[in-house]
């Protein structure tokens, strides 16, 4: 049912459903309600859905004040402007004060496309991952997004929802049992552990098909929540395969690769090949071009897997 449906539409529909039942939920935007799909909520909830104008720092602290008053506010903008730009407000007004604010960063990484380097957040996860108490979640498709929202509301604490706005290829069936803090093994395998998040989950699944043709048995795991990372799932997979590949639409510093490395160095040292942004800023372009430019295609993942297996065989 979610084929070719924009993620922002699913986000707004589900939020609407939750707001109907729960008067504590509020939605604050910073002049991007149209872009992020939440504009229509204002007709139905004129008190609880409103714009603060282009003032993201204020939006974060206003939301913290609302949360301290018993509400559950969602704040939204493009990913860099609700992370990098407002890091201190998220740290102090929100997390240090233990306020349950939900931050929605849209157009993460290369999905910012023609908005280019200024809007192309490759550092948002890295920025937030070092702030205590944050849960950082990135859905792979609309099914996962829809299933996550009730748990995001129910979680008592700050959450960053890293949300591609456009339609995403469907990864999950309708019977998917989502757990916010548990990673999902999408394809079991024994040769290599491929950890992916967000738009890279679909690419990893495509890579798995390429590798299967070469008799490489890759395990594909969706790390939808990079903090707190499901360490047991990471360790249990790598104990079996002995080698890992991480795939992320983010700088290879600070995000999924770092999180996986932190777990493995402590509990199961292994070689990790990284697919992700090689510590540089973004550029303008459409997704296919940007995937090629930054090496985020299924072919790049397959190559990283071969490299990882090569390292494993020489170990």
């Amino acid at each position: 049912m979610y084929e070719n449906v924009e993620m922002r539409k699913v986000f707004c529909d589900e939020l609407d459903r939750l707001m109907e039942k729960d008067a504590r939920i509020a939605v604050l935007d910073a002049d991007l309600a149209k872009a992020n799909g939440t504009l229509r909520l204002r007709d139905k909830y004129p008190d609880r859905a409103f714009d603060v104008g282009i003032a993201e720092q204020n939006m974060a602290s206003v939301a913290a004040g609302m949360a301290a008053y018993g509400m559950i506010p969602f704040i939204g903008s493009f990913a860099p402007f609700v992370t990098r730009r407002i890091c201190d407000q998220l740290a102090i007004s929100v997390s240090y004060a233990c306020q349950s604010v939900k931050i929605v960063g849209s157009d993460p990484g290369i999905t910012a496309e023609y908005n280019g380097g200024t809007h192309m957040s490759f550092e948002d996860i890295g920025v937030l991952r070092s702030i205590p108490n944050f849960v950082i979640f990135e859905p792979a498709d609309a099914v996962e997004l829809a299933k996550s929202l009730p748990q995001i509301v129910a979680h008592d604490g700050p959450i960053y929802l890293r949300l591609a706005r456009k339609a995403a290829p469907v990864v999950y069936g309708g019977d998917y049992q989502f757990e916010l803090l548990s990673a999902d093994v999408l394809r079991p395998g024994k040769d290599v552990s491929v950890f992916a998040s967000g738009i890279m989950v679909h690419e990893a699944l495509e890579a798995e098909k390429l590798l299967r043709a070469e008799n490489i048995d890759a395990e594909i795991i969706n790390i939808h929540t990079v903090k707190p990372i499901d360490a047991d799932a990471v360790v249990s997979s790598v104990k079996k395969t002995g080698v890992a590949v991480t795939c992320e639409n983010h700088n290879v510093i600070g995000g999924l690769r770092s999180a996986v490395a932190e777990v493995l160095t402590e509990r199961c040292p292994a070689y990790i090949a990284a697919v992700g942004i090689p510590d540089c800023f973004g550029v303008v372009g459409k997704m296919p071009y940007l995937k090629e430019k930054f090496g985020l295609t299924s072919r790049d993942i397959a190559a990283a897997v071969r490299n990882a297996l090569d390292r494993k065989s020489k170990a």
């Binding site: 104008g53 602290s61 004040g65 201190d88």
Partner: protein, 278 residues
């Protein structure tokens, strides 16, 4: 306000100052200047205007106080202890290991503190969020916020200011602790605020200048006046003295922002405040 009430608030403010001095002296160092300058407004709010119940610190619809200049924590703690939120003796644990009273206001650690603050500029935005939430819940609460003059150099203050006026948050009453000093010197030499009243008025606020922001009667009268304002948030500009009530602290000027405080200085300060009480 009759004479008895005026006398009560004045004496109470002096008593709060004594407790601030004792708390900061027990730590040996602290933000004494900015704590003493807000002792009077805190006294008027907590003993005259705020609808609160120390037995029920989480009471729905209670009024809130956000000390946006979060370094005035010890001043807030002195009032909260006196109101019964926690024992008076706890004031002597300010900034000690494992204390529940850190120098900057912390709602997670301290009973009765309504919002965490310390990174300047954020508390007023939090107050705007609370005032908006109160409007949504229609619980009739008032939200009070105290901002610093140095803090007013933060851009976020003005973001909050615009939004509060736009949302017509007439349940929000803010105070500018205008003691005209910041860490590096006089505000006017660093990055001046004037004409600060005109700025707040231009941002859509109901502005009232309180000529002596350390005079409890003037503060009380100003609060009573702005409570009747409809459709706008209110800003009371309190012309205060940093370090008010302890002459050697006042004399230290900008140096009193965060100063060391010996036991000898404590005795001198308490003696001066005791004379005030007599």
């Amino acid at each position: 306000m009759n004479e008895t009430e005026t006398r009560f608030l004045e004496r109470k403010a002096t008593q709060i100052r004594k407790r601030i001095v004792e708390a900061i002296a027990s730590a040996g160092v602290g933000h004494i200047g900015g704590c003493l300058s807000v002792a009077d407004v805190l006294t008027v709010l907590y003993y005259k205007h705020m609808r609160i119940d120390c037995g029920r610190p989480d009471m729905c619809g209670r009024d809130r106080l956000i000390m946006s200049k979060g370094h005035a924590g010890p001043a807030v703690y002195a009032v909260l202890a006196d109101k019964g939120y926690f024992p008076i003796e706890a004031l002597l644990t300010v900034n000690q290991p494992e204390t529940r009273l850190p120098s900057h206001c912390d709602m997670v650690r301290t009973r009765g503190v309504d919002m965490t603050a310390g990174s300047l500029g954020q508390g007023l935005s939090c107050a705007v969020g609370m005032a908006k939430a109160s409007k949504i819940k229609k619980d009739g609460a008032r939200i009070y916020a105290i901002i610093g003059d140095g803090e007013s150099q933060e851009g976020q203050i003005w973001e909050a200011s615009m939004l509060a006026a736009h949302l017509k948050l007439d349940n929000l009453i803010a105070f500018l602790d205008y003691n005209k000093l910041q860490i590096d010197g006089p505000i006017c030499d660093i990055n001046g605020l004037e004409p600060v009243g005109d700025k707040w008025a231009a941002f859509g606020w109901n502005v009232l200048d309180v000529p002596d922001g350390n005079d409890t009667a003037q503060i009380d009268e100003a609060i009573a006046r702005v409570k009747t304002c409809v459709g706008k948030p209110s800003m009371l500009i309190l012309n205060t003295v940093k370090g008010k009530g302890v002459s050697f602290v006042e004399c230290a000027g900008a140096g009193n922002h965060n100063m060391t405080f010996s036991q000898e200085q404590k005795r001198a300060a308490l003696a001066e405040l005791d004379k005030e009480m007599a």
